[in-house]
Symmetry: C2
Subunit: 457 residues, 2 copies
């Protein structure tokens, strides 16, 4: 009798961006191998699209992630949850009792929202964001209808995006952030202020420098009625969204005896391989992230980073290729509030200086089309941060129109290829009145950085 | 008595993109130097915006190029035309008789439209596109009103852009192109066909593989009445736009005894310095362009390239810096017909193979947002061309929405930093549902290229 029910070469545990991208890549790069992905979700949602279910998209069904590219590449999807895995036997046990034999295991179990031990967190109407179709559908159809006032705890990306989407439903949204500014961990001051101003103009009430002491019940003692702040103030609210961070799902990896890093993720090397077993990889939110610049932990958990790690593992499953290793996280992300897009790649000036870099910076504000009379023109603000010693680009922030995220991706590529200010100042970029600025904002901001540097005594 | 009326350190002849950018850069990098730019135009138009004067923008005044950044950087503008320059005396003579003493001369005299010796070219109603405010204003207010049918000779960028803009005025536009496809010199087939289909759907009549034998008079023997094609066919038209290419303006440089390259432009080295005189530089459309890949002549005359050359000269005027030299033209450009944006960076598959490269390519079609239910989603087609030996990226074409040109700029940076397929396949890119595709199209197309390559025997 064989000791397993299913056999595969590659078993990927988890069907989020990391697992899916790993699956597609593995099927592409190792076409002779059998690639199986297992996840509990029948239908997976696009995680980054979740806020838009509640406004722009209008429904959970509008935010489904496709499985077609993976299936087309020859992969197979199983529905289920892995209860445990055995590194010696190279098998994994499903919760339903089936056993899968594998040859390479990729742990892509992702993350779940962190809920602090705050008083009142179990009241009805208090919720977090789980990347789960049914859960989100219930939020949309049962939790939110009738809510007139809602408080969001946490002024990071998720809080800010939900604030913009929920106010579109006519809800009075209060956004509570401990730091002096929204998005303060991710951006230098200009961008934070731009986002705050836009949200305020849209009717969102922002409470920065404020801590929530307790979530309080209303007339119904089982339901939320409001929150109490550290300054003693109170706020009535029929619903509370907790969005203060996520934690890696590492139970499976921990039970397998894999090393977890101090930051909480599964320890992985540059090929996403676990320390204990070259046949076991970890990718995405559940894996430890090393910062591109410092090798310290990088705490930004991003779908794009998860996907990049999935690709790297996928390319290295059956043979390591140094150029295809993980050079470390640079944290590239963008978002949009109303028409205002904003994002960051790499280090901010503040984060670079905190680490100990000596930096020089360049700022430029310009229209994103030329002439600026072109329809669809947005004001664009580009701010670049260079290491003063190597002259290398180490970060950039962009606020602008629809091209913002791709301009950040130019910065991401330039950072990864270790471009210097001089490189960027003399580079060729294309331009067209209906599509771009006449002088590329990266070139202009670099010129400004070099000019300021010359001025310095 | 002094032998000149005006004295400057740097004299820039020409106020187009090359001259202006050189001026701004010179003022930034050499703040102690006096920088003067001379041009005949009181008000300069944005050259790339010219087609849009006739449709989208609606007026010549909507397409003015600013002088503010140059003045703010400390530069000075003179209005006038240089008749000749003396390299020994280091002076230049204005047409009005004034003499300017200079220490560094930058020739940025640009290009003018090429008009072939075709029968009927002097008839009223036959015109080209000059980058001149008054000329364009006259076209708009006198030549075009009343025109119901118009023929454009030349299906390159300018012809295609004018076709789209003029049809918006209700003019029946006929576009005549000698080659089998519009834009055939710049794009692989897919993009040409996409543009042809869109223009046809918009009512533009396309005549490819057709040569114009003569422009013919109408009832008024002084005015154009139509054109005669090589197959004997005729076409009635009350106006004819000739847009078949431009030629560098090199009279000034030639008269100064500077070497012209065989391609017609002023010979320049990697610092934009002339062969004969290290104090004399040439930039932009009037300067010879060496191809990034082959060192052969590159015939694409682009504002973005002109601006990059202006920057390079500006940075090297008083001391050469190797990293700030011109690595050669890669030809990055994009345009948009209706909502369809399209562009190219570097070599097409066909041009690479013509040169003798062994290539591998990857194609991907995907929505440019995720989920694709997001408002503003466009289909995006990305095609990448890699050198088979080095695995380096040598070109790419993108058809898509408003982010198309910035995606091409990512490719431009990657080409200039000599990124390989492996680099691009494992890179980090940011993603956001409202702003980008979930998997970056460059990563996806690279993955596809590597996959196809593995499949090859
Ligand atoms: C509201 C919201 C908005 C966001 N917006 C952005 C954005 O715009 N840009 C960006 O870059 N990032 C964004 N993120 C972050 C992004 O969603 C995550 O970084 C990404 O989902 C991580 O992908 P992953 O595959 O590692 O993990 P997850 O997406 O968490 O997927 C984990 C998968 O593993 C499965 N799993 C877990 N345990 C098991 C088990 N034992 N057996 C089988 N399967 C298991 C889960 O069910 C799931 O399928 C956002 C996140 C949220 C919540
Ligand atoms: C309709 C149209 C659309 C275009 N669209 C695009 C596009 O979308 N993207 C792109 O990259 N490129 C585009 N181009 C090409 C782009 O316009 C040129 O590459 C660019 O203008 C070249 O800049 P330049 O400064 O070298 O020369 P020019 O713009 O030709 O400027 C030359 C300057 O020199 C002056 N001059 C000449 N002789 C003298 C003299 N003796 N004394 C003083 N001054 C003198 C002229 O008056 C002028 O000011 C387009 C061109 C046209 C015509």
């Amino acid at each position: 009798m064989q000791d397993h029910d299913i056999e595969t070469d590659v078993l990927i545990v988890g069907g989020g961006p990391a697992g899916m991208m790993c699956g597609i890549t593995a099927a592409q790069f190792w076409p002779s191998r059998h690639v199986t992905l297992i996840r509990p979700e029948e239908e997976a949602v696009v995680p980054c699209g979740i806020p838009y279910i509640f406004g722009t998209l209008g429904g959970t069904d509008e935010d489904l992630a496709g499985r077609a590219p993976f299936l087309a590449a020859g992969g197979q999807i199983l529905t289920g949850r892995i209860a445990s895995a055995d590194r010696n036997a190279r098998t994994a046990l499903l919760e339903d009792g089936r056993r899968i034999a594998w040859n390479r295991l990729v742990i892509a179990t992702g993350s779940t929202p962190f809920v602090p031990p705050i008083e009142g967190r179990d009241l009805q109407g208090v919720f977090e964001i789980h990347k789960d179709y049914d859960y989100l559908d219930t939020l949309l159809s049962e939790t939110l209808p009738g809510v007139k006032r809602l408080a969001i705890l946490g002024g990071g990306f998720i809080g800010v995006e939900f604030a913009d989407e929920l106010r579109k439903r006519g809800i009075e949204v209060h956004l509570i952030e401990q730091r002096p500014h929204l998005l303060g961990a991710s951006f230098d001051l200009d961008a934070c202020v731009a986002v705050e101003q836009r949200l305020t103009a849209l009717g969102v009430r922002i409470h920065t420098g404020a801590t929530v002491e307790a979530i309080t019940a209303g007339t119904d003692p089982k339901r939320v009625g409001g929150i109490r702040l550290n300054d003693g103030g109170t706020l009535a609210a029929e619903a509370v969204l907790i969005a203060i961070g996520t934690r890696p799902n590492t139970t499976l990896a921990g039970d397998m005896g894999l090393t977890l890093s101090r930051s909480g993720g599964v320890w992985v090397d540059g090929f996403q391989q676990s320390r204990e077993d070259p046949h076991v990889f970890a990718v995405g939110d559940c894996a430890h992230k090393q910062d591109f610049f410092t090798r310290h932990a990088n705490h930004a958990l991003l779908a794009s980073q998860a996907a990049a790690e999935g690709r790297i593992a996928g390319m290295n499953l059956y043979g390591l290729k140094l150029p295809r290793s993980n050079a470390g996280s640079i944290s590239v992300y963008a978002s949009q509030i109303d028409e205002l897009a904003f994002g960051v790649a790499g280090l901010t000036e503040a984060s670079a200086e905190n680490i100990g870099f000596e930096v020089f910076t360049g700022d430029i504000r310009m229209p994103d089309h030329h002439p600026a009379t072109m329809p669809g023109t947005h004001e664009l603000h580009c701010r670049l941060v260079f290491d003063a010693n190597s002259e290398r680009l180490i970060g950039g922030q962009v606020i602008g129109g629809p091209t913002t995220a791709e301009i950040l991706n130019i910065l991401a590529v330039a950072i990864q290829l270790r471009a210097t200010a001089t490189d960027l100042a003399s580079f060729q970029f294309g331009s067209h009145p209906r599509l771009t600025a006449p002088v590329h904002p990266i070139v202009a901001a670099t010129g400004e950085a070099l000019r300021r540097r010359l001025e310095k005594p």
